[in-house]
């Protein structure tokens, strides 16, 4: 059986394929116009929505209001800066009152202080007493301070002296602070 018989004329076949191509082109053109229009509108709306211009207007409005409060702004900035500086100083200060008291309360009543020197790194005390046991008690208290790691870390006895006339004993010590 023959299957390759073409009843349509050559011109008709060409016209059909031309029309088909035209149809495809037309649809593509319309689709592309719709696509470009839709995407343009969408973009316009999006850009309008996220444009920072509106925010900038609000920003300028607030800036204008803040302009009248610059004095307060300067004051709070100064207060904050000074407080930070003061805090640093207060934290770094040594409370010599409590340090001196810590030493003085360990010195028995019958021991008199000839000299007392204290600074950031050391404490030097010269005492005298007619009671050796009181001096011993005082020294033990200082050694206890070292073992408890309270203010001082080491102690050096610099000199011991006695006055046979008055019966007084003297002691000069130097302690290194923690």
């Amino acid at each position: 059986m023959k299957t390759d018989i073409n009843l349509a004329s050559g011109v008709s076949v060409e016209s059909v394929s031309k029309n088909k191509a035209l149809k495809i082109l037309r649809i593509s053109a319309i689709f592309s116009i719709i696509f470009i229009t839709a995407i343009s509108i969408l973009l316009f709306l999006l850009i309008n929505q996220i444009s920072p211009e509106k925010v900038k207007k609000e920003e300028n409005k607030i800036l204008l209001s803040i302009k009248f409060l610059h004095e307060k702004q300067a004051k709070i900035a100064i207060v904050n800066s000074k407080v930070a500086d003061i805090s640093k100083i207060l934290d770094s200060r040594i409370n010599y009152e409590s340090e001196m008291n810590s030493f003085l309360e360990k010195i028995p009543n019958d021991v008199s202080i000839n000299s007392f020197e204290i600074d950031k790194s050391k404490v030097a005390i010269t005492i005298s007493s007619n009671s050796l046991s009181s001096i011993d008690k005082m020294l033990n208290s200082f050694f206890e301070m070292i073992s408890k790691k309270q203010i001082i870390k080491s102690i050096t006895i610099q000199s011991i002296f006695s006055d046979p006339k008055s019966g007084n004993y003297g002691l000069s010590i130097k302690a290194n602070k923690l």
């Binding site: 709070i76 100064i78 003085l104």
Partner: protein, 237 residues
């Protein structure tokens, strides 16, 4: 095999007539492609940039709003008094009057009497001194007459007085002591007011410090109003 094709004007005209409608649509499609490539695509690329800009601006506005709220709700008189307190505690320049007042009040409170005192002023001295805080200071070496407990009280009183001071060394003999004290000050540097920077309110620690300084000031003011009998003899003024 190579074929030579000659296209003359007539052929073009025939082709044009034949495919006239096609050409219009092709042109439309071409124009939309060009539009897409050269106008739509760059705008799409700009979207993320715009979004970032908007985020930055929104962040700025949020900071500005917070700043505005904070500044509007600040009590100006309270702020002024806080400024006064911190300025007297850490003056912007060498406050000789404040220093002498503090020493005098400490002497009055402790009952120790002031002897001679010496200010050690000048850059040369300060450079050679070893300090850890890094703030400029004014050194005062003062001689005091009094018992050990009075000297301890004097040191304690200075510790709680303004301008802020720090005792650097104490050399005590039987009934007198030489105390070296530094009084701090700090020159106020110009503070740039940047609106887009978040204004930090006074912290709780800061409030505590101001309250402490204020209590020291109240103590010294009441001391000035009702002087202790020994103050008059101890005061160097």
């Amino acid at each position: 095999m190579k074929e030579n094709t000659n296209i003359d004007i007539n052929t073009i005209k025939i082709l044009y007539k034949k495919y006239k409608e096609h050409l219009i649509y092709i042109l439309v499609i071409f124009i939309t492609i060009v539009l897409f490539l050269f106008t739509v695509l760059p705008r799409i690329a700009d979207l993320s940039k715009l979004n970032n800009e908007r985020k930055i601006e929104l962040n700025k506005v949020s900071i500005l709003k917070n700043n505005l709220d904070l500044l509007s709700n600040l009590d100006d008189s309270l702020l002024s008094s806080q400024l006064l307190i911190v300025s007297s505690a850490l003056p912007s320049e060498k406050d000789f009057e404040g220093v002498l007042n503090a020493v005098s009040l400490a002497s009055g409170r402790s009952g120790a009497s002031l002897g001679d005192y010496e200010f050690q002023v000048g850059d040369l001295f300060q450079r050679s001194s070893v300090k850890t805080t890094g703030f400029p200071f004014l050194t005062l070496v003062v001689n005091i007459k009094g018992t050990t407990s009075q000297i301890v009280k004097f040191v304690g009183s200075l510790f709680k007085s303004t301008p802020i001071s720090e005792v650097t060394s104490i050399m005590q003999n039987t009934n007198s002591a030489t105390i070296s004290i530094v009084f701090y000050y700090k020159t106020l540097l110009p503070i740039p007011l940047n609106d887009s920077t978040q204004i930090v309110p006074l912290s709780e620690k800061g409030k505590e410090i101001i309250d402490t300084l204020s209590s020291w000031r109240v103590g010294s003011l009441s001391q000035t109003e009702v002087p202790v009998s020994s103050t008059s003899s101890a005061s160097p003024f």
